[in-house]
Symmetry: C2
Subunit: 350 residues, 2 copies
């Protein structure tokens, strides 16, 4: 009957959930322009198995909200399926999830609990698109500038830092509703002190990505104002190397990407030093590290990128231009062009 106890407890935590739980289905809001996404977080695949359940909850929410951000949609409601090992701290997970979802306007309306060996948490998130419908990756046109809301590569560096021995201080009960802070991150002992601040940012960025919701909503708003003009947006989750060709194929364009700009997409020189320490190629992490959870957008050149709406610490950057030639090329400052390194490459060189 532990499941019934947990459900009783959940009903006490949240007024919306109190009304929703206790039937076979949840009655969900009737929306005019609903969009939906589903994403899972799996222990050992998406995060270290020992990760505090509160952080798992926040990461699950963030990766789903990042999809809604790409559509320019506002979060509305969600259903959560949680398959967890017996020792999993369900209450800690739900306290963090409910607090974080409230911040973003997502109402949890129900879910499903099971027992399993490997933690698998799945969230379906439904949002309402703007008046002119959801943004998509199909609206890029020749001449559009390609922007990333950035940074790229930091999340992957954070993952490599965790693999290299970075850890989190053990959770304290009273911190359940607080977010992960820099101070909780223990870095590998041999990491040079001048890299500590950046390294903590990378781990934080990896474990707790920030959905770019306000940015996506503003792009949807601009799209509505600029009747007849199109734009394209997508969430960067698999790395720019794989995601850019998807946008280009969906829009029927090519792109000329700027190597010098891409090298800036991780911020600054310190990132290169950190990559050296991690024995990783910085450009490889920027292009193929994945899990950046920022937006890629193709916008008319006359538009100003609304950089003030990016979360703190982001570094919006123009990184290329859409072309009518369907090829994807990577252009160096010296005028040398090479094919875009999607999928089949191993190393781009220094």
């Amino acid at each position: 009957m532990a499941e019934d106890d947990l459900i009783r407890w959940l009903r006490e935590q949240d007024e919306g959930l109190r009304q929703a739980l206790g039937d076979d289905v949840a009655t969900t809001p009737a929306l005019s322009r609903p969009v939906a996404t589903v994403d899972s977080q799996i222990a050992g695949v998406h995060f270290p198995p020992e990760l505090d359940s509160a952080h798992v909850a926040r990461r699950l929410l963030a990766v789903n909200l990042s999809d809604l951000a790409a559509a320019g949609a506002s979060p509305r409601w969600g259903l959560l399926s949680l398959a967890a090992p017996p020792a999993f701290d369900h209450r800690r997970f739900f306290r963090a999830f409910l607090a974080a979802s409230k911040v973003h306007g997502l109402q949890l309306l129900g879910g499903d609990l099971s027992s399993t060996e490997q933690l698998v948490a799945t969230l379906t998130a439904v949002g309402e698109a703007g008046d002119s419908g959801p943004l998509s990756r199909r609206g890029a046109a020749p001449g559009h500038r390609l922007w990333v809301s950035g940074p790229l590569g930091l999340s992957a560096a954070g993952r490599h830092l965790l693999n290299a021995g970075a850890t989190l201080n053990p959770p304290r009960e009273q911190q359940a509703e607080k977010e992960l802070s820099d101070a909780q991150i223990q870095l590998p002992a041999k990491l040079p002190p001048e890299l500590h601040e950046l390294a903590r940012r990378c781990v934080l960025h990896h474990l707790l990505p920030r959905p770019h919701l306000a940015l996506g909503q503003e792009l949807a708003h601009l799209s509505q104002l600029g009747e007849g003009t199109t734009l394209a947006t997508m969430d960067l989750s698999d790395g720019l190397a794989r995601d850019l060709p998807r946008m280009a194929a969906a829009s029927g364009t090519g792109a000329q990407m700027e190597l010098a700009a891409l090298r800036q997409a991780s911020g600054d020189e310190l990132f290169h030093q950190l990559c050296l320490w991690l024995q990783r190629d910085p450009l490889d992490l920027i292009l193929r590290g994945g899990e950046d959870y920022c937006l890629l957008a193709a916008l008319p050149t006359s538009w100003t990128f609304p950089r003030e709406l990016c979360p703190p610490g982001c570094a919006p950057l123009a990184i290329g231009t859409c072309t009518s030639d369907p090829k994807l090329v990577l252009a160096s400052a010296d005028g040398h062009h090479r094919p875009w390194p999607d999928g089949g490459w191993d190393h781009l060189g220094p």
Copy 2:
């Protein structure tokens, strides 16, 4: 890039999916009275780990549709999250899922794929409730007759048969879109021949429950016609012993249940013989076996139960009456009353 290959293949399988795939979010239909549910199927928890991926797909769909059936809703769309081991046959799974969901009017609109050790498949299913809103477990009133659309206990007997050595013939590629048939089930060698037909039905019932959608929709229709009268419905997934108290608590009623009727809820005398062979108490399987995926309904006595809308092989049965006294009692034919055996019991006796 195997994920991209699978997605390309999926777009070729289904026109609705072709339009839906390829963005970060799915654009979903705007519904007037949307209801939603989520349920997972986990290898080794809900089904034998070696189960054909086509059956996993159908079972996942069925358990979700059973929730929509309890609300009297019509299936509309779904999102699927699939975390599967490397050897999992994704195409076989999706062929079966798409064929079965088409039968029930559910359009798959997207999903999420991951790699994991233990198969976890999660479906979020959204439906449209009838004009008077979703049915719920809160509408039972004193004097209502309690019905099960039945049968009870067969699914649990099927699970025990699988544990006792029943197996399925290996899948053949061309059967992917065909449902599991009696002929594929290999029964334990020592099972007496007179029990074979029933035993096959039990395994089939366990692996492939039939959602009682038409029944639920008709009850919603009757509820709308009978203005001012209420009814209650719920899906029996955890066993009547646990689920009945939930309906009673939600409605603020008690119930007097009829032992003699409950003993009939598994069909006939053969079930008792099968239980004897399995060394299980028949009444225990009927009340606490679980995964029956039929409906429990509390209806005004003046209503005729629409038994013609139950799937073939069901045995609708009145099993008790709601009372104003909030206690739940189990009444024997000899007039003896005992407390309802929810949760804390082990054995009811012969």
